[in-house]
């Protein structure tokens, strides 16, 4: 090395000089980086023009106090600018990618991802979007795409320090320099060789990135993992299926070790209660999805909301919605943390809208059921919830195999059956929003039934990277949707805006408006109280992502990613035949007055 350097001094000097020059140029225009500190993340709502967390804040309300765009003037909302993104290409079993992400905005700089995990930094100043850099993680398409059950998806980034923190479908956690777009470090967190992929956005708590995993259709044993962002080392990893000797393991009663491939994925970003240092995370379905006789017992902690100590990952409480689930009714949905005045002081609730068609309020201090109600129009799998426990009334803790309403429940003696809701829900990953002034909670609803064919599973059928579903759905019945508002003070439905197609994008709430989209292309603004439609714009592409809002240069904008991907157009399109004409796409829309 030294010899070479001595022999070619001029070349070495020239290269060093070039590096120095580049560094100087890069340093000149960049102001001191806007460090995202744990304190700022705790107080994200005190920066009303910014959107710092995936779900806006640790409580996951997706409520912005910005009100320059309001019900009096929203009819004048128009496209301010758009930007074409990439990531449409296919891989594995997928013909194309889609957009499911929520843009993050900090001080006028927007960070979005495409389905393959490329991160785009866009300067939104001056009423236009300028792409500053794109970080392409070169995701291994075939490796990851072959075990992604439900599309080429990435739901966005998080910010910490001077880094953009993101995931890739092939299981990596990546830290990118916010100014330069250069990868600073990356760490393999999930293993696609085991059927594990990552689609969710990271949640940053203190100095940790919390990662969830997908793969319950491929025989994984789910987990939530915390990575120390300063040392890049794993702090804890808590499996969502308890191991031998751990509480809950007795809820897997078979002799064939079904728990080892029991599912329980965690692919939707959770929430965090700083007052008790508690993470609250939704846990996915058990596997095999539709053959519950393979896995007798309640199958903890699948289909549950799980509370964990943020520093240790230790489980504090759980609330299970559908024990021994034979329907693929996962509970991965976000828990929205709200405080409601009660007779004995504020009720501290965690709200969750489940794939099984019921909305739940749980006391987030104790994990006890407070109220629950169906938010879909048609439920056939149960006659309702027990008023005390919130369990389905047919649930029998003494039975190893739950049958609920046996006439419609998939089982080894009922090999083909129609159920409502269908296995997409109810409510899937698209996030809810909560208006703390009106105490209304808005659910993006999939009104569905579908037909389930059961396949009886045996241990020999369990193979790495192959489906482990115990059957599959088909779609003989049309699927529609709605935005349904629930009055959290009463636990009753307060209104419904019905839509011809399922809601596959999620909801944004502002003081007097609700924004949402349709897979047929429309972005819509509703009156927050009456849910009357006040504005609509057709983007011409399928909306499969949540709207968000931010302000820059003193002006409010609404942004949404557009590009139908996900599970729908591969597995569920027969229920919405008109959507077959929607073209793959990858586009950012930004609206203003």
């Amino acid at each position: 090395m030294n010899n070479l350097a001595r022999r070619k001094p001029s070349l070495r000097a020239a290269m060093l000089a070039t590096v120095a020059a580049v560094a100087t140029i890069a340093a000149l225009p960049a102001k001191a980086a806007d460090e995202v500190t744990p304190e700022r993340l705790l107080n994200a709502d005190k920066e009303p023009g910014n959107w710092l967390h995936h779900h806006k804040n640790f409580s996951a309300t997706r409520f912005s106090s910005l009100s320059d765009i309001n019900k009096g003037n929203v009819k004048n909302l128009k496209v301010a600018w758009t930007m074409h993104l990439g990531g449409v290409e296919g891989g594995g079993i997928w013909t194309h990618g889609g957009l499911e992400g929520t843009p993050i905005v900090e001080n006028g700089m927007m960070y979005v991802t495409d389905g393959w995990g490329s991160v785009y930094k866009i300067d939104t100043h001056g009423g236009k979007g300028t792409l500053l850099w794109k970080m392409d993680p070169k995701t291994d398409h075939d490796w990851a795409g072959a075990v992604a059950c439900c599309g080429v998806d990435n739901r966005g980034v998080a910010l910490w320090g001077n880094l953009v923190i993101s995931h890739t479908l092939d299981g990596r956690l990546i830290a990118t320099n916010k100014d330069t777009g250069q990868v600073v470090w990356q760490r393999q967190v999930a293993d696609p060789n085991k059927g594990e992929v990552i689609t969710g956005a990271p949640l940053i708590v203190k100095n940790m990135a919390i990662t969830g995993v997908a793969g319950a259709e491929y025989g994984i044993r789910g987990w939530i993992a915390a990575t120390d962002l300063t040392s890049q080392k794993e702090v804890w990893r808590t499996h969502t299926i308890p191991g031998k000797g751990e509480p809950g393991h007795e809820s897997w009663k078979d002799e064939r070790n079904s728990a080892a491939a029991g599912g329980g994925s965690t692919w939707v970003t959770g929430s965090y209660d700083p007052a008790t240092n508690t993470l609250i995370w939704g846990i996915g379905n058990p596997g095999p999805d539709w053959d519950n006789e393979y896995r007798p017992g309640d199958n903890l902690y699948t289909d549950s909301s799980l509370a964990l100590d943020a520093d240790s990952g230790k489980i504090k409480w759980h609330y299970q919605h559908t024990p021994n689930d034979p329907y693929d009714y996962d509970s991965v949905a976000e828990n929205v943390l709200v405080d409601i005045p009660g007779p004995n002081g504020p009720q501290k609730l965690a709200l969750e809208a489940d794939r099984n068609g019921f909305a739940y309020a749980i006391d987030r201090t104790t994990g006890k059921f407070v109220w629950g109600l169906p938010f879909v129009k048609k439920v056939t799998w149960t006659k309702g919830l027990d008023a005390e426990t919130g369990k389905p009334v047919e649930y029998d803790p003494n039975k190893s195999i739950q049958t609920y309403v046996a006439a419609v429940t998939p089982s080894r003696t009922n090999l083909e059956t129609d159920i409502c809701p269908g296995n997409m829900g109810g409510k899937n990953w698209p996030p809810t929003a909560y208006n703390p002034d009106l105490k209304l909670w808005y659910i993006p609803v999939i009104e569905s039934c579908n037909r389930i064919k059961v396949e009886v599973m045996t241990p020999e059928k369990l193979k790495p990277r192959e489906f482990w579903t115990g059957g599959g759905p088909s779609q003989p019945v049309r699927i529609t949707g709605s935005v349904t508002a629930i009055d959290v003070t009463t636990g009753k439905v307060a209104g419904k805006f019905e839509t011809p197609f399922p809601n596959l994008g999620g909801v944004l709430a502002t003081p007097d408006l609700v924004f949402s989209g349709q897979p047929s292309g429309e972005v819509t603004a509703l009156d927050a109280k009456s849910l009357e439609k006040l504005w609509e714009f057709n983007t011409g592409g399928g909306v499969n992502a949540p709207p968000m809002t931010f302000s820059v240069d003193g002006k409010q904008y609404v942004a949404i990613l557009v590009g139908l991907g996900g599970a729908w157009d591969k597995w569920f399109i027969d229920a919405t035949p008109e959507l077959k004409r929607m073209q793959p796409g990858s586009m950012l829309y930004v609206f203003s007055l």
């Binding site: 594995g92 079993i93 997928w94 013909t95 291994d140 398409h141 075939d142 490796w143 072959a146 059950c149 439900c150 092939d170 696609p192 060789n193 259709e217 064919k453 396949e455 790495p464 990277r465 192959e466 489906f467 579903t469 115990g470 059957g471 599959g472 759905p473 088909s474 599970a567 591969k570 597995w571 027969d574």
Partner: protein, 182 residues
């Protein structure tokens, strides 16, 4: 001068062309598989979307795609299935005009009624359908469990998609040509 030089240059060129052609032909003869065109159709027409790269299909979110490894269909039957799909299932038809100008299973659109299979995203010409069928016969039908060399042959080496097969040593059962399974 010019004239003197032109002749040998022409000769050299002719030699280079001939040599290159010979080398290309030689290389092609060594590596080309007559069913490569069919493999390309298998990928392009998204057969992998349900049957997977290995053809085993399997259950899943989209229902159950049949195993092409365990299929008992003949070449002619595979060709008809690709062109006409499978009535009453999700297996689409890949021939333009199937059930209209082209009869399928001796049925037209009226005969098949509501059991008409979905229309594929890509239509294939008869030669493409035959190529895909020949690929399935040569590389998929009658094979046992998928292995590393098959996987690498399909994907190349750029992806980690074949990693899970690497640990497995090729065993007698994996290399045996099971031929026609019953």
């Amino acid at each position: 001068m010019t004239r003197h030089n032109r002749l040998p240059r022409g000769a050299i060129l002719a030699f280079v062309i001939a040599a290159t052609a010979a080398m290309t032909a030689g290389a092609a003869a060594q590596s080309a598989d007559p069913t490569d065109a069919g493999k390309a159709v298998f990928k392009r027409a998204n057969c992998v979307g349900c049957h997977k790269w290995h053809g085993n299909g399997g259950g899943g979110y989209g229902g159950h795609a049949l195993s092409l490894r365990k299929t008992e269909l003949s070449r002619e039957q595979i060709i008809e299935t690709i062109g006409c799909g499978r009535p009453g299932t999700g297996m689409p038809f890949f021939t333009r005009g199937a059930y209209d100008s082209v009869k399928c299973y001796d049925m037209n659109r009226e005969d098949v009624g509501s059991r008409i299979p979905p229309e594929a995203n890509t239509f294939l010409r008869p030669s493409d359908v035959e190529a895909a069928a020949d690929y399935v016969i040569a590389h998929v039908k009658g094979k046992g469990e998928p292995n590393n060399s098959e996987c690498v042959e399909f994907f190349g080496n750029a992806s980690r998609v074949c990693d899970i097969y690497k640990a497995e040593q090729p065993t007698a059962t994996q290399t045996t040509h099971s031929g026609q399974s019953k």
